[in-house]
Amino acid sequence: MLMLQDIRKSYRIGPTEVEVLKGVTLEIQRGELIAIMGPSGCGKSTLMNIIGLLDRPTSGRFLIDGSEVSYADDDALSEIRNQRIGFVFQQYFLLSRLTAIENVELPLVYRGDAHRFTRERSMELLRRVGMEERAAHRPSELSGGQQQRVAIARALVGKPSLILADEPTGALDTQVGHEIMELFRTLNREDGITVVIITHDPGIAAQCDRSAVMQDGVIVQ
């Protein structure tokens, strides 16, 4: 469902041009749980930004469900992010002023869905990640693991075809990190959601179906 062909990305830093991605080719099947692994500075964050449509490649082709997406205009990219991609970040990135359920609702709000529907659907997702008791709490009243569960509910609420998780357990202790990984595995197994996890931790990668290792701007295995 995801197809990257010879993706290159370079940044201009002052007078010199630095090539961060040097021709990444990767195919991800529907329903896969895949880890993209590599040391810091290998370009995996840049790759994640491109897969997440937050950034555009300098050259190469990127197809989601068979359609070329990475050169679409800003509004179109926003819409694809909203419809097809669910983000999970290392720092959870919940909005601190909003309650848990309001955070989960956000992607639906940007779709323009009716309030009654978004509430119901968000509550359903909070139940799915075991956070329905905390729906009215603000992020500051939740533990790191709980916040990440809310963030996962937010990623899932819009029924995306892809969950893109950037070091999802990086800020959590091993036990809680394990629980979060377990949740991803369950979602992947039971709902058939494609999950891409970016990590530098081989332990996390080992829990995935497959892992792609990046080094110096290319995928080496």
Partner: protein
């Protein structure tokens, strides 16, 4: 819905940084408040003048000697020149000669020191008038009686309310019967006028006037000259026709002397023009504080955008379009400005009410000023909020997500 979520979010965001919000509000409140106060005071003054004017009646003409500047006042050619004056006899002949005029009231201003009990009377001016003066100027007698045409050459005077109020402090008892010195002559007070609200359409201030008969005045005043004549137009005759008749009368009677006849319509037109300038000026002064207030809003919004860069990044990642982000921040600044505007309206209306109270004007709530306030505050919110909102919408999501 996005709008609903944005409104809620804007309210939350403004409430979460109370201090900053309040500071920006103060700016807007003062800005809108001063515009409203200025415009509404302008309106009140305008209505007050018109009201007083209507009290005076619209059938009154003012006749003055043309001081020059007009096309019909060329010097030379055997004309009496600028020294020529309105003569009392010619004036008193107007009702007979002009069918459109039924009454005339000439007025001569007097110079000279005015004193009572040997002490100077502050704020007093002597006027030579006739019996018709009282009625035509819509004045009322409070005590005693007014001058009649039987008082020609007499040493009687009728005083304004403010003059009467000064007399006890100068050691006088009852004003009636008191003796006032004008120049070298002593006048006995025979009547006191009822107080009149200040700032009317009259060419004199009734409350501080000392009225004596014009025939006495012409002899007693230094450099006595009849300055203006008030004429009452007969019912059913237009002001224009009556005015033409008066002009013709003077052309026939006093060769070379040209008179200027001012009708109430002209005065109103002139007054409205002046009031418009006045209101415009006041509005412009108010607008300056409004701009300052608007810059305050912009500042708060810019800080808000900078502080919430990461939030913007998160929202963008979740699918917010640039327009959604711009809308969110615009709504916030419009809400801020509208709240400021509403408070400003209260402040402005309150201020104009206080001003009206102390100036003894009739307070009038100006709906146009309120609409102006709401409209302007909205515009300020959009205008000064647009730049920060645009900055927010143009943030690169990746950069925004990385910032803290």
């Amino acid at each position: 819905m996005i709008l609903r979520a944005n409104l809620k979010e804007a309210a939350r965001s403004l409430l979460s940084s109370k201090q900053r919000t309040i500071l920006a509000l103060i700016g807007i409140v003062i800005g809108i408040g001063s515009v409203i106060a200025m415009v509404s005071v302008g309106k009140i003054v305008q209505e007050e003048s018109l009201r007083q004017f209507r009290e005076m009646g619209t059938d009154i003409l003012t006749i003055e000697k043309d001081m020059g500047g007009g096309p019909d006042s060329k010097p030379g050619g055997g004309a009496p020149g600028p020294g020529a004056a309105l003569r009392l006899a010619d004036i008193l002949a107007i009702p007979g000669a002009c069918p459109g005029i039924d009454t005339v009231a000439p007025m001569a201003r007097g110079g000279g020191e005015i004193s009572f009990n040997g002490k100077k009377l502050e704020q007093a001016g002597a006027l030579g008038v006739t019996e018709s003066f009282l009625g035509i100027n819509k004045l009322k007698i409070g005590q005693g009686r007014f001058l009649t045409d039987m008082d020609e050459q007499s040493r009687y005077c009728v005083i304004g309310n403010a003059v009467a109020n000064q007399m006890p402090q100068l050691g006088g008892g009852q004003p009636i019967g008191g003796k006032i010195r004008i120049g070298d002559n002593l006048f006995t007070v025979i009547g006191v006028l009822k107080p009149v609200p200040e700032g009317g359409m009259r060419r004199f201030e009734p409350n501080t006037s000392i009225l004596i008969h014009i025939t006495t005045g012409m002899r007693a005043f230094v450099n006595a000259e009849i300055g203006s004549v008030t004429a009452h137009v007969r019912t059913g005759v237009s002001n224009k026709t009556a005015g033409e008749q008066v002009k013709a009368h003077f052309t026939a009677k006093a060769k070379g002397l040209s008179v200027r006849v001012t009708s109430p319509e002209e005065v109103v037109a002139q007054m409205e023009k002046q009031m418009q300038m006045f209101t415009l000026l006041l509005g412009a002064i108010g607008s300056i504080s409004l701009i300052v207030g608007g810059v305050g809003v912009m500042n708060v919004m810019l800080v808000s955008v900078t502080e919430r860069r990461r939030e913007i990044g998160i929202r963008r990642a979740l699918g917010a379009k640039r327009g959604d982000i711009r809308g969110q921040f615009l709504i916030e600044s419009v809400i801020l400005s509208l709240v400021g505007g509403l408070l400003g309206i209260l402040f402005g209306v309150g201020a104009s009410r206080i001003i009206a109270h102390f100036a003894h004007w009739q307070f009038a709530l100006s709906t146009s000023a309120i609409l102006l306030g709401v409209g302007v505050s909205n515009a300020v919110g959009v205008f000064f909020g647009y730049y920060p909102a645009r900055q927010a919408s143009l943030l690169d999501p990746i950069v925004a997500l990385k910032s803290d």
